[in-house]
Symmetry: C2
Subunit: 162 residues, 2 copies
């Protein structure tokens, strides 16, 4: 892991924290081209009521608009949680070079955990995948989010019963 | 195949023809809820310079906006060509009930041809997939598109050489 990679993942983590603050599942993503961040987003599915509004999707759209090109050649993606099949598929279509993600998603991770769409050799592009940068920070954030959700759910049940 | 299913696929095919007319890869999609089309779109990746702007993605976003809900429960999708991993993933996230597609995509079809993301039982939702409605019409359209592309490419080469 290089210092630059950690810096980019810190930026993705800042985005994830923004999502946390809006009660969205805390996932953040950045897209980097020639040492410059050209896409930076957090998950917004609840606020936008749009299942496609994952952090990675918004960051890819931003980066393509920046480059005025639907192919993000020589671009790398930094994501706090392992992308799902939709987001891994978007990275293939965008020709993302390297994907760095912090921590695994045991339920829908499509970059090596549940499936490996990102590196599927039968498709016409393979996204080189790396994991583990700032793993503990990203994992703590997502755990804290779901712990809070469970606590809130229990409080509501107690309130209804009492 | 019911008459209604053919009618919805005809609507998807109209969208694909719109894409063809704009020099976009001719793919169309509609989303149906309670016998009503609530999402209707064609591929716009070239025009928008956005790799995520597939017909299915735009139709899912439209349908979610219509229902004001990120879950498209009891909704069915009709697509002229087998969805790619990104679009199959979006349908899982949206909880699409049934996916009907016309013709296979031998290069990136993720609903049974190259991969089967849509019906992957390790993920938290399974999109029941059916194929073959208006298959010849959809296949002819995509073949005509790529034939035209090849002819144009050859004309350019001839022009440069002559």
């Amino acid at each position: 892991m290089t210092g630059k990679q950690e810096t980019y993942m810190q930026e993705a983590l800042k985005q994830a924290k923004l999502a946390f603050g809006k009660d969205e599942v805390p996932v953040g993503a950045v897209i980097v081209h020639n040492n410059t961040i050209i896409g930076r987003a957090h998950n917004q599915t609840k606020m936008l009521k749009d299942p496609t509004a994952h952090a990675e999707m918004i960051a890819v759209t931003q980066a393509a608009a920046h480059l005025k090109n639907e192919r993000l050649q020589d671009c790398d993606a930094y994501v706090t949680i392992e992308p799902c099949p939709m987001c891994a598929g978007a990275m293939i279509l965008a020709r993302i070079r390297n994907l760095y993600y912090s921590t695994e998603d045991p339920k829908s991770g499509a970059c090596g955990t549940v499936l490996n769409v990102a590196e599927e050799r039968k498709l016409n592009h393979c996204v080189k995948t790396h994991s583990g940068i700032l793993k503990e920070e990203s994992r703590s954030l997502i755990r804290e989010f779901f712990k809070k959700k469970r606590t809130n759910a229990r409080s509501k049940i107690t309130f209804r019963i009492s």
